[in-house]
């Protein structure tokens, strides 16, 4: 106490001195404030950018090796390399397309359906942030984060045409598909002025935090069309087509789950509370979906399978993708659980009834799970989690049904409907063109021999060497 008494007058006089100094030199004060603002901004940019760069790497990991392993394990051993290549080559192909015109088509300022030419060859995409998309990170970080999504989306489709498509046809199809399906859809949902963009002037505001419509519905529906167009694999339903290594698939699913934190929590485009909220919802959605799928399978088939567990978690990750960043952890559990059961039914019962050969269930998991997630986002989205939308007086607007805005479900359904229509028609057009240009399917002999040898001249497992 004594020490304080003696200290107080000293502190007081120090304050007075400081005040005097400010009064004498107002220019210095302004400069100090400006310096402080710059320092705060720079600190936030450092924090946000650190998380976003890590997220970019996480999302890339989902494609290679995540998806490559997940899909690679599910095919027969003679097709393991070709299936992995379908994912891996996109890490190069999509990147080059993105740099040349993809980013500009998706995120340039254009009309409601696609972007403009302003960012062709990444012109003007530098270190300065783009205030419309992400004010606290370099524009290049935003660009490369979005690129990772453009890589994995077409890779998801490869589950439908695995084990029978020509490599050249796959390259042609994917290049066309990104151009007429992915870039426009990304623009509509996330691009400035896009038709469905709830935050940047869309006429039909639809919520899609991390790509339920853009990534999963478009790829899933396109996959279904591809599976039907290509017709089943030789011997489908007559000869065994067991997964050659579920061990690879388990590793792949684990990496997908891991990378998905970058996919969803990174979509906050900053490292604050919203990222945490999306991170938590993502994890809870995956967990509940795994339980949903495994329980349903256990009850129906008498055994809980490992393939069911890994398929279930992916289904949950898909369904929570549009909702993460809008929903509470408890809602995430509900969405995930519903997705686990719904996708189980789609993959094991509906597919068998309809008879199409979606080799690795790209539609049953991504198309079905994505659609369910998009609709349920309209139910569970709440401004308790995301208050970015405000009325003119600054109060947060109600988001989904739980906030008392049932109309949002319709908007979500319209968003999903547009993605379904664009995915279906776009995929068909791309398949048709690729078919005319180079023929889609390998010959029967090549299919029997396996695509690894026929397309790439290699084998996945050379045990004697």
């Amino acid at each position: 106490m004594k020490a304080m008494k003696t200290f107080q007058p000293a502190a007081l006089s120090l304050l007075l001195l400081q005040g005097l100094a400010y009064a004498q030199a107002p220019v210095d004060l302004n400069k100090k404030v400006a310096d402080l603002e710059a320092a705060v901004k720079s600190a936030q940019t450092s924090g946000d950018n650190a998380w976003m760069l890590a997220s970019c790497a996480l999302v890339l990991l989902m494609t290679g090796p995540g998806l490559a392993l997940f899909y690679g394990g599910l095919v027969r051993r003679k097709n393991v390399l070709s299936t992995m290549m379908h994912s891996f080559i996109l890490m190069a192909l999509a990147t080059v397309i993105w740099a040349v015109y993809g980013y500009s088509m998706a995120f340039g300022e254009g009309n409601a359906f696609f972007g403009g030419t302003q960012y062709l060859f990444l012109k003007g995409v530098g270190i300065e942030p783009n205030g419309d998309y992400a004010a606290t990170i370099p524009h290049q970080t935003f660009m490369v984060f979005q690129l990772m999504f453009a890589i994995i989306t077409p890779a998801l489709i490869s589950g439908a045409y695995a084990e029978r498509i020509k490599f050249s046809a796959m390259v042609v199809y994917t290049t066309l598909w990104m151009t007429i399906v992915y870039f426009p859809m990304a623009h509509m949902v996330w691009g400035k002025g896009g038709l469905l963009n709830a935050f940047l002037g869309g006429t039909i505001p639809s919520f899609d935090f991390a790509g339920g419509t853009v990534v999963h519905i478009t790829s899933g529906v396109s996959a279904l069309v591809a599976a039907i167009y290509l017709k089943p694999r030789l011997g489908y339903m007559q000869e065994p087509m067991r997964p050659h290594s579920l061990v690879l698939s388990v590793i792949g699913a684990g990496l997908l789950w891991f990378g998905w934190f970058g996919f969803n929590a990174g979509s906050a485009l900053s490292a604050g509370g919203l990222a945490t909220s999306a991170f938590v919802a993502t994890h809870f959605g995956a967990a509940a979906a795994m339980i949903g799928w495994v329980l349903a399978e256990w009850m129906k088939n008498g055994k809980p399978s490992v393939l069911g567990a890994i398929s279930g978690c992916v289904a949950g990750l898909v369904a929570i993708t549009p909702a993460s960043g809008f929903v509470t952890p408890m809602s995430a559990l509900l969405i995930g659980f519903a997705a686990g059961i719904f996708c189980f039914v789609m993959v094991t019962i509906v597919k068998m009834k309809l008879g199409y050969d979606d080799s690795l269930d790209a539609f049953g998991v991504h198309g079905a799970g994505g659609t369910l997630g998009a609709i349920l986002t309209g139910v569970f989205a709440t401004n308790l989690v995301n208050n970015a939308l405000k009325d003119p007086s600054g109060n947060p607007l109600p988001l989904g049904l739980v906030d008392g805005n049932p109309g949002q479900i319709l908007n979500q359904a319209i968003g999903a409907g547009i993605a379904i229509a664009l995915g279906a028609v776009g995929s068909f057009v791309c398949l048709k063109i690729a078919d005319l240009v180079c023929g889609l399917r390998v010959t029967e002999d090549q299919e029997v021999e396996g695509l690894d040898l026929a397309m790439h001249g290699e084998e996945g497992y050379n045990l004697e060497s």
Partner: protein, 112 residues
């Protein structure tokens, strides 16, 4: 000389090897094979698609032995490989014309 071809359960291989070593049989060749006799296969289910797996993994043990030792080897082998359940496998005995040791051209039983 006789060739013994025994198709056994993979999990019985160690016991069979030990038993053969126990009666002084040094040489054998092992092949991983798949097949079935009277044993039924099993069902596997992948995402609702059922597969009957009727070719089951087995191990084939091959040995060439002197005629005098056939009964002893066969009974020891059968005892070691037996679990008493269906699927334990079979032993075949084949006649062998000659044997040659590549290193030094030894012939017949001397080459075994």
């Amino acid at each position: 000389m006789k060739k013994i071809e025994a198709i056994i359960q993979p999990f019985k291989l160690e016991e069979v090897k030990e038993a053969m070593k126990g009666i002084g049989i040094d040489g054998m060749t092992i092949i991983e094979v798949r097949g079935h006799g009277r044993q039924k296969g099993h069902k596997e289910v992948y995402r609702g698609q059922e597969y009957e797996v009727d070719l089951l993994p087995k191990v084939k043990v091959e040995m060439v032995i002197a005629d005098a030792r056939v009964d002893e080897v066969v009974s020891t082998l059968a005892k070691a490989a037996r679990s008493g359940k269906i699927g334990d496998g079979k032993i075949f005995i084949l006649a062998v014309e000659d044997a040659i040791r590549i290193r030094n051209d030894d012939r017949g039983e001397a080459a075994l």
